[in-house]
């Protein structure tokens, strides 16, 4: 597509709005101000990465968007409507693959699809197989979960999250437990899948370079109280290569800001 086409295309509508969300946890050592008045809008189809030191409320914000936790004040809106609880329009990919070990791979995907009305079982099975193929595990439909490697499990979890065709995908450090090679494969997969099945994605990570490689925008969080400290657009063409210089340059920009603003405890350096 030429630059002029790109320029003339109408701006994609806002998908997700976070309005003044605050959250405090009461603990034995007194209250913890996990999120302080967070406001943010995310466009349809945008890939937003969140980085920040441990304990700055990234998971809490993600859980609030997922509807698994309620904010003390403020609201989250999707398509202009406030969310009231978890829903199929916002699927979550957790850090540990939350697959059900009593079901095989196919049945795990079917679990999500069976809860979706207006589909017959034949269609459900076809959809499940489509997404298994998309993550490259078409041959493993009938494998048991404990027979899969960590990377395969996370792929199945991704397929299960994609299967109900959510508009928003929330990922909380989904690849943190995987080795570097598996992770880099998954970066390619995610970008390819994003091309084929565009979603609005919010992606939490500790790895600044991962954020620069995947995100259209990188948000920098700061702790105590949890807040958004900075914002870095990454206007690079896709697909992006994790090892490319351009990605490294953007990552170091974020890293620099991070070091400037905060004590960089718990952050992984851009490898």
């Amino acid at each position: 597509m030429t630059a002029i086409h790109e320029e003339l295309r109408p701006a994609p509508p806002v998908k997700l709005v976070i309005q003044g969300v605050s959250k405090t946890f009461a603990t034995r050592h007194g209250p913890i101000h996990a999120l302080d008045d967070i406001s943010l809008s995310v466009r349809e189809g945008e890939f937003v990465c969140m980085v920040g030191p441990s304990g700055c409320g990234k998971s809490t914000l993600l859980n609030i968007i997922a509807g698994l936790e309620t904010p003390d004040s403020g609201a989250v809106l999707t398509d202009g409507k406030p969310i009231t609880g978890p829903g199929r329009d916002r699927m979550v990919l957790f850090q540990e693959p939350a697959l059900f070990p009593w079901l095989d791979v196919m049945s795990n995907l079917m679990f999500a699809l069976k809860l979706k009305p207006n589909l017959n079982n034949q269609a459900r099975r076809e959809v499940a197989l489509y997404y298994l193929g998309l993550v490259g595990l078409g041959k493993f439909a009938h494998a048991h979960i404990h027979e899969l490697s960590g990377g395969m499990k996370q792929r199945v979890a991704l397929a299960r999250a994609l299967a109900p065709n959510p508009r928003v995908l929330l990922m909380d450090e989904p690849f943190a437990a995987l080795d570097a090679i598996t992770r880099e494969q998954l970066y390619d997969d995610i970008q390819r899948i994003q091309e084929e099945r565009p979603k609005t994605i919010i992606f939490v990570t500790h790895n600044v370079r991962e954020a620069a490689c995947l995100g259209d925008r990188v948000l920098l969080f700061a702790p105590r109280p949890g807040r958004i400290e900075g914002e870095f657009p990454v206007p690079l063409p896709r697909p992006r290569d994790f090892g490319s210089l351009e990605v490294a340059r953007h990552a170091s920009e974020v890293m620099h800001a991070l070091k400037h603003h905060l004590k960089p405890e718990g952050m992984e350096a851009a490898e």
Partner: protein
């Protein structure tokens, strides 16, 4: 194979020494029957059908009481795990009663039901219910919360979550609870059979009891051996393989 050798030699040797001690009259055969006479008893009782009939009676009572105990204990365990009201009432009762050795139910059972099948059944059920309840409660409480959270994002709610997620997720703990319930049921039944002498059926415990009354020590030891064997077989053939398979699949292998 090599690991089998040592125990075989050790126990074989001990039995031989035992036999010799009895033969040499160092141990009185009235108090300690020789291994051969125990075997002889088992052979006799096996041949005339006493042993088989007693085993059948015992196993029937055991299964009946165990199954009823589970049918009561498992759902109650889910209740105490789900509702704090139940945990604070029923849960406390269960915790207390579980510490009560099941023989202690016998006097009550005798007063309520007399020398009847109902009395033995009652003791077995009381032995099973509480341990099954507590194991299930514990199981449901230790399910990784991520399963329920994941299910909720997929649109699962209340009853669906319970049936499709919490129930299967707690299966490893339920199997352990069933195993423990079995052990308790087995101990309770033996206690009940020794104290509740009923004429409607003659179980292994009663065989043991009359062995003592008649001073037939070969019978006492023979029946004890059978009781150990049944306990071992149930564990090795039924419960342990189930437990292992479930734990492996659920990824909670110890």
């Amino acid at each position: 194979m090599k690991r089998m050798l040592l125990p075989t030699l050790l126990f074989g040797g001990l039995v031989v020494v035992w036999e010799l001690l009895v033969r040499a009259n160092i141990w009185s055969p009235v108090m300690v029957p020789s291994p051969l006479s125990v075997l002889e008893y088992l052979w006799r009782a096996g041949a005339d059908g006493t042993l088989g009939a007693a085993m059948l009676v015992t196993v029937r009572r055991l299964l009946l009481g165990y199954v009823i105990g589970l049918l009561i204990g498992l759902p109650l365990g889910f209740m105490t795990a789900r509702f704090n009201v139940c945990k604070d009432t029923l849960g406390v009762v269960a915790l207390g009663l579980q510490t009560l050795p099941s023989v202690c139910w016998v006097p009550l059972a005798l007063l309520w039901f007399g020398q009847t099948e109902a009395a033995t059944l009652f003791v077995v059920i009381m032995g099973t219910v509480w341990s099954a309840l507590i194991a299930t409660d514990h199981g449901v409480r230790t399910i990784p919360p991520i399963y329920v959270r994941a299910a909720m994002t997929m649109g699962s709610r209340r009853l669906h979550t319970w049936v499709k997620v919490i129930l299967p997720a707690s299966l490893p703990f339920i199997v352990s609870g069933m195993k423990q319930g079995w052990a308790f049921a087995w101990r309770s039944l033996m206690a009940a059979e020794i104290y509740v002498t009923i004429l409607t059926g003659f179980g292994l415990g009663q065989l043991l009891h009359y062995g003592r009354e008649l001073h037939a020590m070969d019978q006492v030891l023979g029946v004890m051996l059978i009781i150990i064997l049944i306990g071992l077989l149930a564990d090795r053939i039924l419960f342990s393989p189930c437990e292992r398979a479930v734990y492996r699949r659920w990824g909670t292998a110890k």
